[in-house]
Symmetry: C2
Subunit: 276 residues, 2 copies
């Protein structure tokens, strides 16, 4: 059987790779991409079978670039999962806390470990393009004066040693990921319990309220709302909504039918299970 090709953004050992392995079981051919647009283009062109997309983090908020790419590419959401982000201080064999003078990582990870870094106030903090990439660089160069902040998976992939584990300021640090599939998978029968949509309201007072009413009046529970600017129409917005329910439920089907009557544009981005 052919291995499933699953795209992710970042270097081997990225948190996205951990998420990919949780959402697709079995032997995977994990394909790294330098950017999110490159990954979406590869999935649209069937160069990979699936793509792993971080969509929001409980500390940093939504990954707005990926909301825009979901709209642009029409690639269906097949699953979601949450990963606890555990940051570790990782170094090359031989290095110790005493030999370290510099710490490399992605700026978001550095910001999430401020208390730990303040305890080591003499260390130079160097922003790097990727968390796992900073481990890769340190191990390739066998640096003894530098450490990286990244996942346990990154330490394993590149042979790094974890000097201090779980150094993040806030333990409630989770990232939610989507698994996207090819456009042909959009109509597959889904037993998913959650649905994501995007819509544009008519530009009238009270229009967002009316759109939310189609869910509230049917006791459908909204779990997330996100707004993005509508191109070409300054100060108007696209709304992305997640809710509990499946379009095969009559109440959800009716809510979406009702919503389509009062919106200018409506698209279902996916109906998917939550992988625990």
């Amino acid at each position: 059987m052919k291995r499933q090709r699953v795209g992710f953004q970042g270097e081997r050992g990225a948190f996205s790779e951990v998420a990919a392995q949780k959402m697709r079981k079995g032997k995977l051919n994990l394909v790294p991409f330098p950017s999110f647009p490159a990954m979406f283009r590869a999935l649209a062109a069937r160069k990979v079978d699936y793509a792993t997309v971080p969509i929001e983090n409980t500390l940093a908020g939504s990954v707005h670039e990926n909301y825009d790419l979901l709209l642009k590419h029409r690639l269906p959401i097949l699953a979601e999962t949450n990963i606890r982000i555990v940051h570790n201080l990782i170094a090359a064999p031989g290095a110790t806390l005493r030999t370290i003078h510099k710490v490399y990582s992605h700026p978001v990870a550095l910001r999430q470990c401020i208390r730990f870094l303040e305890k080591h106030g003499k260390w130079e903090v160097v922003p790097f393009y990727d968390t796992a990439g900073s481990v890769k660089m340190i191990l390739e160069k066998k640096l003894q004066d530098s450490a990286a902040i990244a996942s346990k998976a990154a330490a394993q992939v590149y042979g790094g040693r974890i000097l201090v584990k779980d150094i993040g300021d806030d333990r409630e640090n989770y990232t939610r990921f989507f698994l996207l599939g090819p456009r042909s998978a959009a109509n597959a029968l889904s037993t998913g319990k959650k649905t994501s949509i995007v819509f544009v309201t008519r530009n009238l007072p009270g229009s967002l309220f009316r759109c939310l009413s189609v869910f509230a009046l049917r006791d459908i529970d909204l779990t997330k709302i996100e707004s993005r600017p509508l191109r070409g129409r300054p100060w108007e917005y696209l709304f992305y909504l997640d809710f509990q329910g499946n379009p095969s439920d009559p109440s959800v089907r009716n809510a979406l039918k009702n919503l389509s009557e009062i919106t200018e544009f409506l698209r279902v981005l996916g109906c998917y299970p939550t992988i625990g």
Copy 2:
């Protein structure tokens, strides 16, 4: 009379500086800051009298970092304005389109001029920390092979020449700015027609719908909703809302009173005029 000290983020000639001059008339002492957190801290410590804060752009979306800082610092919004973002190709005297091989600017500005840059596909595109800062660097070094993408104001401040004006892909490129003042200004009588608030709903199905109903039932027009993660409570959110109206209107006063009954937390961030 003492000059008003107005903080802005970026180098002299930044779009924020243009916004500052629109919102505070008269002689200003414009004070640049390297980051938004540094500027908010300076205003909280009364080292400046006002601060200029970009809050959303019609192409790139909200500046989420500044939403978080508005919540953290309790500095009132005193005014808002919209600035059309006009990107220009700027070079040192003597340089021409033929001598240019490299273009520097902030990554957001570079992304907004993709069509222009594709027409000059041989130019190397170099991300830089600031739009106006890229003009400053090129003029200081008197580079003949490089150009910057920045505002007309930046060309004037550093003595650059505009080689091509208005090179952005999308003419509908506007940034909305807030002028923040000291905490003592929060209770000043305002004749502003717009109000911004932030709140946390009770975590119950339909709670956002109920919160919006207090405005809809009184025909108060919402102009913007933004959500940000609530720290320590994964997958719960803070909501930022802008609406037309002033808390001295009975209907707005009643809506806010009603909202405070059904929310866990509610704060008015400001009530302010729109400077045209």
